[in-house]
């Protein structure tokens, strides 16, 4: 799960990480009041969860409360398009009004999981303010990586190593040690998958300040974080993906025309690859779950067909625990309850698959059956193009 910058900064502040003074507002008048409170000269930051806001015009300066109101009025309610949002952009529901900060250096600081070592890792770089992936690709030597033993946690000496490694000196070192410890504690206690401050600035007064922040959370751990769940912004989610998730179906919308319904994530990816190899493009990833009950199959059809780009559907179910005849009945049942207007290609394999296929062949539904994976993909692509 992702949250907005203003929410991330509020959490960081709870963990002792200094952030600029600011206020999140959802009206132009609110922006004027906030700017007046902050001394007039402010930065107005559109609150969408995608990156790339600066280049897209979502972060602007204002020299006075009146100008802040004008800037906020231009941003609020519009859809901001960045390189991460897709062409539809994201709705700007609020703006963060912040004091302006005079920075002398821009650093990067982040905590994430290193999959290879299975350990949390703190990443720090003196090259802040740009995307860390870019730094990693072009100047990997500019990134300090410090693994953390999760049993003992992040001890002060690790913070010192990083602080000196970033070239900090004097009072900034102590500030950095506290700040790094706070960020790690937040990462650990709130089950983040990423806790990132970019840039972390050193002000002209030699103070460290989190100028921008991104916190992503482990969906599997949200059950123990009611406070984080409350920060969810459904406006930022794809409505179909959200509906699917609520039904326990794993669905990712893509851009192609062949919808697919598969049980199991690996087989679902394999099916998408086969569609591509057969000359088509998958419209989605969809895992109905291992059991693939009639209920879930019906739900999955509804979600798949809500995507107007879908020209054909490929159902590929490996019946192991779920029996093929039961799944076939589910498909027949789904046909009764959902108006299916595109060709449906079905391949069932495993327990009672033959009975299931025969049931579909005699259902009068016009379902196209296929015996092998290859045949199923070819027929689905053909049906989508035909």
């Amino acid at each position: 799960m992702r949250i907005h910058e203003y929410q991330a900064k509020a959490l960081l502040a709870q963990y002792g990480v200094p952030v600029p003074r600011g206020k999140n507002v959802s009206t132009p008048e609110g922006a004027r009041t906030a700017a007046a409170e902050l001394g007039g000269s402010v930065v107005i930051k559109a609150q969408i969860q995608a990156g790339g806001r600066g280049l897209a015009g979502g972060i602007r300066q204002a020299g006075s409360p009146d100008e802040a109101m004008e800037v906020a009025a231009r941003l609020l309610g519009t859809r901001l398009v960045t390189h991460q949002t897709g062409p539809g952009g994201s709705l700007v529901g609020s703006v963060l009004v912040e004091e302006t900060v005079a920075a002398q250096r821009e650093l990067y600081l982040g905590v994430t999981l290193d999959r290879a070592s299975a350990l949390p890792v703190v990443m720090a770089s003196a090259a802040g303010g740009v995307e860390i992936e870019e730094v990693a690709a072009q100047h990997p030597e500019q990134i300090l990586r410090q693994p953390v033993d999760p049993v003992i946690g992040l001890q002060p000496f690790l913070g010192r190593q990083l602080a000196f490694g970033l070239g900090l000196s004097g009072a900034a070192v102590g500030q950095a040690v506290n700040l790094i410890a706070g960020l790690y504690r937040l990462y650990r206690e709130k089950d983040c998958t990423l806790a990132e401050i970019n840039p972390l600035v050193v002000t002209v007064e030699e103070k460290l300040l989190a100028l921008d922040a991104k916190l992503n959370f482990d969906d599997n751990a949200l059950f123990r974080h009611a406070d984080i769940r409350a920060l969810r912004d459904v406006e930022e989610e794809n409505p179909l993906e959200r509906e699917a998730a609520d039904l326990g179906i794993s669905y990712v919308k893509l851009d192609g025309s062949v919808g697919c319904m598969v049980n199991g994530a690996g087989l679902a990816m394999a099916t998408m690859d086969l569609i591509k190899q057969a000359g088509g493009e998958p419209a989605n990833f969809l895992d109905v779950g291992g059991g693939a009950s009639a209920e879930q199959v019906t739900n999955a059809f509804r979600i798949l067909l809500a995507d107007p780009n879908v020209r054909a559907v490929l159902v590929n179910i490996f019946g192991g625990i779920a029996r093929g005849d039961v799944i076939a009945e589910g498909i027949v049942e789904a046909n009764r309850r959902v108006n299916i207007t595109v060709p449906v290609v079905v391949r069932l394999v495993g327990t009672n698959a033959a009975e299931g296929m025969s049931l579909l062949d005699h259902s009068g539904l016009g379902v196209i059956t296929a015996a092998t994976l290859q045949e199923a993909a070819a027929k689905a692509v053909q049906a989508a193009h035909g």
């Binding site: 350990l119 049993v151 599997n220 625990i321 290859q374």
Partner: protein, 292 residues
């Protein structure tokens, strides 16, 4: 022979009275697995299909001589159940549960460093040895045949697909291991490959990977440096866009790593025979083994 599990493995089911646990405990027993008891806190002293149920794993081990367990405990409590099994000294612990918080698994994995327990999973279909009639998992038993092909994979149903294709051609499996679809799992590809290399019954290995992380690249390097048996490899997720999670918590291309093309290239460099399409897993194995 097989790896990890076999005819002598004595298995506890943690969460045996739950819906999943009871269903699969029965299915494993029917297959021939020696299920010796179950654990559900608060249900100790009761009975499940004639099997004793215990409150704790330690108690269950003392009474039954179990040396392995399979875990169906719900995600919020699963890491605790895994730690309980490790502390009880079981040789093999297989965690089926999906949706465990990743930092819970990180702590479990760190704890495993000083232990002899082999943890398979979480978020996995389990392990099956068709020759030993030992199934400790949720896979459909009847698609498997005793044979000489080792299968290791991050996936569930895709592994069944591979197994079915192999069995259909008259070949069989020595052992099939689903290592799990999470970003961090107890046992990785390399440890399983090492066991297959050492197993006299295994003649060839099918390695099924997917997008996300760099475990396939590391496995390829191991194959190149240390394996003499033929390895057939498949990577799925070639059509997945970066930054989107494909069902499995671990199946995501992020920060410029984890793309399918990189993994396929690593396989090729390592001399792994790359399966040209998910529909041709069985045929590729048959060709490598010189099977008609």
């Amino acid at each position: 022979m097989s790896i990890l599990v076999g005819a002598d493995t004595r298995v506890l089911v943690q969460g045996i009275t739950g819906r999943e646990g009871s269903f699969h405990a029965r299915a494993c027993r029917e297959y021939g697995t020696q299920i010796v008891g179950g654990v559900t806190p608060g249900r100790g002293g009761t009975d499940f299909d004639g099997l004793p149920v215990f409150n704790t794993v330690v108690e269950a081990c003392a009474a039954t001589g179990a040396n392995a367990s399979i875990i169906f405990v719900p995600a919020p409590f699963a890491a605790d159940a895994v730690l309980e099994a490790i502390e009880a000294g079981l040789d093999v612990v297989i965690c089926i549960t999906e949706g465990i918080p990743i930092l819970d698994t990180v702590l479990v994995k760190r704890h495993l460093r000083d232990k002899s327990t082999v943890l398979i999973g979480p978020n996995c279909p389990g392990v099956i040895s068709p020759g030993g009639r030992c199934k400790i998992g949720i896979m459909p038993g009847p698609i498997h045949r005793p044979g000489t092909v080792g299968v290791v994979s991050r996936s569930g149903t895709l592994t069944y697909e591979a197994v079915a294709q192999i069995s259909e051609l008259g070949l069989g499996q020595s052992t099939c291991v689903g290592i799990g679809g999470d970003p961090v799992v107890g046992t990785g590809f390399i440890d399983i490959l090492r066991r297959f290399q050492a197993d006299p019954e295994t003649e060839a290995v099918v390695l099924i990977g997917e997008i996300g992380g760099t475990a396939e690249e590391a496995a390829a390097e191991y194959v190149r440096a240390s394996m003499t048996k033929p390895v057939v490899g498949l990577i799925v997720g070639q059509s997945a866009p970066p930054g989107r999670r494909m069902g499995h918590a671990g199946a995501i291309i992020s920060g410029g790593s984890g793309a399918a093309a990189d993994k396929v290239a690593a396989f090729q460099r390592a001399g792994i025979t790359v399966v040209p399409s998910p529909a041709k897993i069985g045929r590729t194995v048959a060709r490598v083994l010189g099977h008609p």
